[in-house]
Symmetry: C2
Subunit: 421 residues, 2 copies
């Protein structure tokens, strides 16, 4: 008997009909002889509606109370799902994050999981019950307060439970068929990836692929959890995210996929004295301002001036505070000016096969050049190459790169008018 963890997002349980459809799938999985643990998000727009309510009563909701408020969302969906399954004649029990033993630190709104003690889930499974768990939420043991995991929380809940229960598989149900070689809304001939390593998935998620949250993939990689990303609207096989053992002979595609991201801005610090410690000084200031820096590029300094330029990208929302923090330290750092650019796009090609295949970057740059797309920044990791271009060329860039690396499928991908994640 296998133990399967299934995670359903908000769009999969948006209304009574959707909940019944999901319940049917869960019952089928149970009837096929598996133990089933289900992690569920809040229904449709519930979380946004609760956030709106909070905004109506106070401009800056207390984080502890905001967590108390938001966790009502999953409480509703999990109870409805459990009673639906009960109504179908199967035993099912719902558990809050706290009841499920999801222990976190005390950082309300963005809590980190510190331990998972699913004693009650194990008991319920042993009694033959289907287990339904509220995603996104946990419990701090010291304050005895309810916490939420923040963005990507439900995916992370599912992976953490799969690891703690030593599940055979963690299925992430969503409104798309799996992970694609590129966003099918941009690249018509994008194809579903059948199998990808967690390492590659991590780079794709970091580069803007929205199907799986970075944090959940990181957790899955660290704990060796196999993920199956698939649609809750059909029975097609989705994408397996695997963790090959050291030395395991895996034939890896040179390029697994192409991702794009329009959510970042670029800041250039112009005229920085080219002396040791200046970069450290700048990024310490930015770190204190809470900026999440992504790409960093420093040009060679012009010898005659002894000055250099440092550029970096960060989420647009953090742009103003980062600029303010730098301006406040202008004299201490000794730079000339700041340039801010929020019209950039980032493209990344990811593939574990890159390690053993030279020439991938040359091929990438050539494809962009042929299409007349200018490259403004470059950054690479072992299995990823990222470039920054103008925002309005990013979709063209993704398409030409997808074609250049031979990723185009024979037919157009099916795009669902889903509500996204």
């Amino acid at each position: 008997m296998s133990l399967i963890v299934q995670k359903y997002g908000g769009s999969s349980v948006a209304d009574a009909e959707s909940i019944k459809r999901v319940a049917k799938r869960i019952v089928e999985t149970r009837r096929a002889g598996n133990d089933v643990v289900v992690v569920v998000s809040a229904m449709g727009d519930t979380t946004d509606e609760l956030l709106d309510l909070a905004g109506e009563v106070t401009p800056f909701p207390e984080p502890r109370e905001l967590d108390m408020l938001l966790t009502a969302g999953e409480r509703i969906s999990m109870a409805l799902l459990a009673m639906t399954i009960k109504g179908m004649g199967m035993d099912a029990r719902s558990f809050t994050g706290s009841q499920a033993g999801m222990i976190t630190d005390s950082q309300h709104g963005a809590a980190r999981i510190v331990d998972v003690t699913p004693v009650r889930l194990r008991e319920a499974l042993d009694e033959g019950s289907i287990v339904i768990v509220a995603g996104f939420q946990g419990f701090n043991r010291d304050s005895r307060d309810i916490t939420t995991l923040g963005r990507g929380g439900s995916d992370t809940s599912a992976v953490a439970l799969a690891a703690a229960l030593d599940a055979d598989m963690c299925e992430i149900y969503t409104d798309v068929d799996g992970v694609f070689t590129a966003d099918p809304r941009v690249v018509k001939k994008a194809t579903k990836i059948d199998r990808i390593t967690a390492e590659e998935m991590l780079e794709l998620a970091a580069a803007g692929s929205k199907v799986l949250h970075l944090r959940a993939v990181e957790f899955a990689r660290r704990h060796g959890v196999t993920l199956h990303v698939r649609s809750s609207f059909n029975n097609s096989e989705g994408t397996l995210v695997v963790n090959p053992q050291e030395g395991e002979n895996v034939e890896e595609a040179i390029i697994a996929g192409v991702a794009a991201d329009l959510s970042e801005a670029k800041i250039t610090v112009v005229g920085v004295p080219d002396i040791p410690g200046k970069a450290a000084q700048i990024f310490t200031i930015l770190g204190k301002a809470g900026a999440n820096i992504d790409m960093i590029v420093q040009n060679v300094s012009a010898a005659e001036t002894g000055l250099t330029d440092i550029s970096f990208t960060l989420p647009k929302a953090q742009g103003p505070s980062a600029l303010q923090a730098l301006r406040a330290e202008k004299d201490a750092v000794g730079f000339d000016t700041l340039q801010y650019d929020d019209q950039i796009g980032k493209l990344a090609v990811v593939g574990a096969g890159m390690r053993s295949n030279a020439g991938v970057s040359a091929q990438l740059f050539q494809a962009l050049s042929d299409a007349g797309i200018n490259i403004e920044m470059i950054s690479t990791s072992e299995i990823r190459i990222s470039v920054v271009t103008r925002a309005d060329t990013i979709n063209d860039a993704v398409r030409v790169v997808h074609t250049a690396f031979g990723l185009d499928g024979d037919q157009d991908a099916v795009v669902y008018a889903g509500t996204g994640r």
Copy 2:
């Protein structure tokens, strides 16, 4: 420093504006130098909306899951209220029924409170915080499951907490100004009662007065909690529900108030053999069918037949199942026929002063007779007289009795277009 428990019903926290108004009142109570514990119901129609959702996914929701679902309602209102108060610059913390130590039995949907261990509330109060608690919900220690207290649950939560915390006062906020001598929508000259004993309030609640739930009043009487029933829409003094000490010299009004109830039906079992044990047999059958019997009247038997008639009233909703249960035992009991009448109204006059004042029943019957209203059943307790009349005469009956006992005020009562309780 006094400790005050305040309970706000759903209509008092129906939207963001109402929550802000309630928060202001709580903050004022705290600023006046009191410790404050607030018990809050779900916002407006939330509970009904959640019940509708449950009905959409399954015809018979599992009680455990229904409780899990419904408790999301108070979770939302309590978190919003706590963050509103926090936004006003006062410390406030919300607690679920379980966190508040509201220990119940395991009867989902109608759990009884078995213990209250408000350790965390006491800690929060000691730290100077305003405490917000979800009404209506509790926790069963054996199953470790969430429970709800059923009808009147939030009032009962408030009274139980007031008792456990040894509060100086339990304020029940509602959308009317207090307890009235009669329903102001029926009797224009009804007056607000300033002070009433818990014993009288109990009889009024049992007789159909809807301002306070019977169960909460019972709890308050048993634990000596003083209640203050008042409006959340103004600052007027409401009605004090007091527990005079044995021997305390209280001048008691002969009649405290008049209540009416149109929710009951009458069943008459015709032709019951007038031999010992027959009444016991009938009411055992009804008890097993789950019928809550209110008034019972047995006529003297006609000597020549040796048969008697037994009439009783019960909630209309329980009529069909009670009839069915009796019909199934017709031969065993040996009665002739059953008569069912759901067009009855019940009127009760309540007053502790009745004990020492003869002639109250005569005065009541005379007033009804003068108005041409026929009495079909009579039942009395030490401090209450109830009569059953035709349903369509009940409002007239309340008005003439209210006048006959000198309860009419000098001016018309203000009736709010509230949402009721």
